[in-house]
Symmetry: C2
Subunit: 393 residues, 2 copies
Amino acid sequence: MEIKGFKFAAVEAAIKKPGRLDLGLIFSERPAAVAAVFTTNKVKAAPVLLDMERLKSGFCQAVVVNSGNANACTGVQGMDDARETARLVAEGLGIPDEATLVASTGVIGVPLPMARVRQGIAPLVEGLESGTLAAVAAAIMTTDTFSKLEVRSGDAGGAPYMITGIAKGAGMIMPNMATMLAFLVTDAAVDPVWLRKIFREANDASFNMISVDGDTSTNDTSLIMANGMAGNAPLAADSPDAVQFTELVQEVLLALAKQIVKDGEGATKFVTITVKGAQSNAEAKQAAMAIANSSLVKTAFFGQDANWGRILAAVGYSGVQVDADLVDLYFDDVLMARNGLFAGGDAETRGSEVLKGNEFSVTVDLKLGKGLATVYTSDLSYDYVKINADYRT
Amino acid sequence: MEIKGFKFAAVEAAIKKPGRLDLGLIFSERPAAVAAVFTTNKVKAAPVLLDMERLKSGFCQAVVVNSGNANACTGVQGMDDARETARLVAEGLGIPDEATLVASTGVIGVPLPMARVRQGIAPLVEGLESGTLAAVAAAIMTTDTFSKLEVRSGDAGGAPYMITGIAKGAGMIMPNMATMLAFLVTDAAVDPVWLRKIFREANDASFNMISVDGDTSTNDTSLIMANGMAGNAPLAADSPDAVQFTELVQEVLLALAKQIVKDGEGATKFVTITVKGAQSNAEAKQAAMAIANSSLVKTAFFGQDANWGRILAAVGYSGVQVDADLVDLYFDDVLMARNGLFAGGDAETRGSEVLKGNEFSVTVDLKLGKGLATVYTSDLSYDYVKINADYRT
């Protein structure tokens, strides 16, 4: 089974350096309903500004994406370059300019090398005949160590459809501005207004639950195209199969989000952090994010140090309601602290054993209410520093 | 010239491990006016809770401080231990319990080893005959690589006085909970209500302008004792010498704050970050702190990479009003970006040269208003990770 009506291509345009795929194209034979969420950073890259404008129609037909250069902090020239890239792709495909979106990731503040982008576009369009989404997933990688692709299939009123997504990761550990990109394509027919609603919610429940949240880059983009080639009646809020479609979109996004965490810069641990018993779900998330974003907690994870006090302290400064004398804290199923105090016994030994694993969970019970949230994060290692100290060179 | 009416002592109590001073005492022969600011963390260590209660009188006579154990997340036992420590010191000194304050720094969640604390108190009190504040400064060190002491002298209505301060640092780089302690003593006579006001303001202009801000530990304490032995008429808001005293307190605190940054865990750079042209001083500080707290900016400093785009992006997500097309950015006096764009010419070469220094400044001009703030920070190095991964062991 394959996804109907989409074609893909990726080429080497040597945008930052030669020797790797760095220019990708997603093309739908028909105009597709499109929804996207973008960075909340006030400094937005040119492609983000262009896409925000073009998305208002609710439809698009192509997305061209490059790595190696973010086309951010590039002013009027950057907007001109984003527009020209879209126009050249649109001409090659024989579709309207306005149906073409652009995304970029890489170094900030350097103009796009347009000569190389221009040279790349003809082979890119030709490549659609034989290209794959997996190749596009490779072309958008920056410091990622593996490409990220997820596939799900569903059924809408008897018509089978697929949802396929790719993503590139971010400097996961306190990723103040490393770019996150995700592109989903589905051949299901979907009402564009409803698609926008569920896609935003699905992003909140996935990419906004990994510690990329808040500190967004100039280029963050998560986008879905639905071209309707599966032949179903367009899915909308009252469709019998709306729930399944929504869940599959969430599944793809959450799976991609977890892959991003696992591929965090220098990451050696994948940590699931759950806060329960908070006064609200929002407070639970706020506390979980404070834990996930604490450099001291993350370095303790890297050091396999069962330093539960740092976690409790992070909850303390997170700003949420907390009574230190009530808090329970677990590493996996090992109770480390009960009512804010060290649990004693063999907790230290057993807790340290848990932290030796590559994947483990931290659970904090505030015992104040019913608020619950789970976020995903990684540790902070030497390699994070190494990767980011030398990023531009 | 020496500070009148204060005595100091420090001993080795082997609280965490033997071989270093770890228990200190500051004693004023007379009750001293006292003011303090404490951590805003909702999880507060036992000594902080005890001191907050005892400070209400506005006077104290002794502070006993230990390193090696934070006495935080230690519950009822922790409060009992803090009280007993104060009581034993008070008995040794022949002063009221309530005139004795306690401070602790070190590992969280482990009860104070009271047997060793008890044993240390008699030699501590005896040590007052020959002890120095410098020895107390050494006794409060944890991961600090040097002790921090500042001295200033002033004159109030013809009476010379001194202000001496010591501090211990924090895991400076995103110091989510490493403790900051500072103790100032002066023989000037100062009205306790006014002292409280100016001390709070001076802390805002010093310790709250280094990137310790916000992510406070369970134990952060900054305290001043003024015993009046200089013989001046008590300083208050309308005293002719009030401004000088206020400035000297600020000088001592700011000098200690800068020493803390320079001794940041693993720090190799001391960076002064100024944001001007913001819509308010508060927005200028918010933007400067976003830069100072960005792990990606800090790792670029460590890598001596003139990556001005990361700085601009940090301003963009800081939440303040910003027009990316207006922003100018300097490394020292080298213009790196003008109106949001790379300045060109030899800016890259000259900017990289600036970042090779051990101390440099970053100036961001938002060109929107008159808001101005300067904060101080350090870089994020391999050693930060090393220190914090292995802290408890």
